[in-house]
């Protein structure tokens, strides 16, 4: 190995360290904050690994009687919005791809560049008028603004690349369009379904802006609940960091295990709603 090679390797290692360390150090610090008692979190110079671990920060968050409500709300809103989006978005992606109705993608594009807040004003009034405020329905419905475009956009891409010959053969054999979709097109597009599902779940789970306007005390999702913790118990960092970590943990785990799908989805459409 020549000197030039060795220098090259050191340079590469340094480059890798430079770009990856902000992310790694941030999350390590987040974990550190969440397992420290007040004394250690207020210490100067800062303590990275404490002598006594404050596991009770996690216990406190999980044991608070509201946490379970907020967690359930988050699961229902994200689950509802994602399943509804898959239900209407997957067939739509198929239809648009087969009709080659590329102009209809403009609507998706408009949805992509519209600030989430501009949906909130009219829909807030609509939900108020319908008497839905105070239930989870407004949030499930408005999260469709995030999930439906993601699902449609990604599914158009997948159905466009699946071979049409198989479908033609099935049609000749007498299958209806619905049967062709259900038994021929859908199984082939399975990887696409996974990508659309994962991205819809993540961006719906992370969404914050819809919740702060539409959620009441009983209907808060986890991001909104955590935000409310900032404003009220600013002083205790340990439990706050623990709560933040609990909220984002499902997404981080999903990112670890479904990295390939996420990368495929983001580079295909680079969709992010809200």
């Amino acid at each position: 190995m020549s000197v030039r090679d060795i220098l090259g390797r050191i340079g590469l290692a340094f480059g890798v360290f430079l770009i990856v360390s902000p992310a790694i150090l941030f999350f390590l610090w987040m974990i550190s904050l969440s397992v420290k008692f007040e004394v250690d979190n207020a210490a100067y110079p800062p303590v990275f690994i404490p002598e006594n671990f404050a596991w009770k920060n996690y216990a406190d968050v999980l044991a608070s009687n509201r946490f379970f409500t907020y967690f359930t709300n988050s699961v229902l809103v994200t689950g509802g919005a994602t399943l509804l989006a898959m239900l209407v978005g997957v067939p739509a992606g198929y239809g648009i791809a087969r009709m080659a109705a590329h102009k209809s993608a403009i609507v998706i594009l408009v949805a992509r560049i519209t600030p989430g807040l501009s949906y909130l004003i009219p829909l807030f009034l609509l939900f108020q008028w319908l008497g839905l405020l105070g239930t989870l329905w407004p949030q499930i419905i408005i999260h469709l603004v995030v999930t439906v475009p993601i699902v449609i956009w990604i599914m158009i891409g997948y159905f466009e690349t699946t071979p049409i010959e198989l479908e033609e053969a099935a049609t000749i054999d007498g299958a209806t369009r619905w049967q062709v979709f259900r038994h021929v097109a859908l199984p082939v597009a399975k990887p696409g379904l996974a990508v659309a599902f994962i991205l819809a779940v993540i961006f719906s789970w992370n969404n914050f802006v819809f919740g702060i306007v539409l959620a009441g005390r009983e209907t808060r999702t986890l991001p909104v609940a955590v935000y409310n913790m900032i404003s009220f118990d600013q002083l205790s960092w340990g439990p706050l960091a623990a709560a933040a970590l609990i909220v984002t943990a499902p997404v981080l785990v999903l990112t670890m295990f479904a990295q390939r799908q996420i990368v495929a989805g983001l580079t295909a459409g680079a969709v992010k709603g809200g």
Binding site: Y44, R182, V209
Partner: protein, 310 residues
């Protein structure tokens, strides 16, 4: 479920039975449910917002038609004008920094090295993590007395900063978070571009004794330009709309020093409940985003032209 299936199949068949081969409408049953959803949660809000922007509407009082009065209020509203300035500087920084760092990261991640897969997963975590949770930890890190950032500065001999707690440093500090969060997306887009590059130019350049930097500057960079433009456009659209991070860390403060259009829109709509005016802001804001996107597209065309000339 079976009824839906039957209906859809039936509808599909009804339309395919006629003698004329009129194929396209047969896919409509697939698109219809999504169309209804899009009409009600995307199109309807848009039309309603346009209508509302011509009304004087404060919650609790009757609406009155005021023509363009809401729009005419905008240039005379110092808070709005200030917010436009904040938005532009925030956006410019939040496009340029992730673009430079993301391109560098893409070049690094294009090289094969042990642990690349797991490191890439860790690298993209900031953009997947829940923004509010991230914002909360950044707020703690920005703390002037107890925050870890001032400690890190002191290690390299730099004076402590007030970060998000001072009007002069609040926007750069928020941009730091935004850059940390969204550099990975730029990296992914540019990496896609680099991966598709032909290898021949590099081989001949190597034979000619070109340095790594020269190869990047004269081969890679021109070839990945289209991807950089896409990344810049996506970044610009997201940065201009940025809400979660700013709202959770500063609420637009201190004072109104980090109030962008989106945050001001929130205040007007859901703090002051001045819904007519808020609708006008929403529409002007949307027009601004469209203009920004169009400007980048024109710039891209230009770049392609000069590329042909050279």
């Amino acid at each position: 479920m079976s009824t839906i299936t039957d209906q859809a199949a039936g509808a599909a068949q009804d339309m395919t039975v006629p003698a004329q081969p009129w194929r396209p409408p047969s896919y409509w049953p697939f698109v219809l449910p999504a169309l209804i959803v899009v009409l009600s949660v995307i199109i309807f809000p848009w039309l309603f917002t346009i209508w509302m922007s011509f009304q004087e509407w404060k919650v609790g009082s009757p609406t009155t038609f005021v023509g363009f009065a809401n729009y005419l209020r905008l240039p005379a509203d110092p808070r709005f004008v200030e917010a436009v300035g904040h938005t532009l500087s925030y956006t410019a920084l939040s496009v340029v920094l992730p673009l430079v760092l993301g391109t560098f990261a893409a070049v690094i991640f294009h090289i094969k090295f042990p642990g690349r897969g797991i490191l890439r997963a860790l690298f993209i975590m900031p953009m997947m993590a829940t923004p509010v949770a991230i914002a909360l930890v950044w707020t703690m890190m920005f703390h002037p007395q107890l925050g870890v950032l001032n400690y890190l500065l002191s290690l390299v001999g730099l004076p402590p900063q007030l970060w998000v707690f001072h009007p002069g440093t609040v926007i750069p500090s928020l941009v730091l978070v935004e850059t940390w969060q969204w550099t990975p997306l730029v990296m992914l887009i540019v990496l896609g571009g680099i991966a598709a590059l032909p290898t021949e130019p590099y081989e001949s350049a190597q034979i000619d004794g070109a340095s790594t930097w020269q190869m990047f500057r004269y081969i890679t960079l021109p070839l990945i330009m289209p991807f950089l433009f896409i990344a810049a456009m996506i970044r610009a659209i997201d940065a201009v709309k940025s809400f979660d991070i700013i709202f959770a860390i500063t609420q637009g403060g201190p004072g109104t020093a980090s109030e962008t259009i989106n945050l001001y829109l929130y205040s007007v709509a859901f703090v002051y409940y001045d819904l007519g005016y808020a609708s006008a802001i929403a529409l002007v804001f949307f027009a601004l985003i469209v203009a920004l996107t169009a400007a980048l597209l024109i710039l891209r065309k230009r770049a392609q032209w000069t590329g042909v000339d050279a």
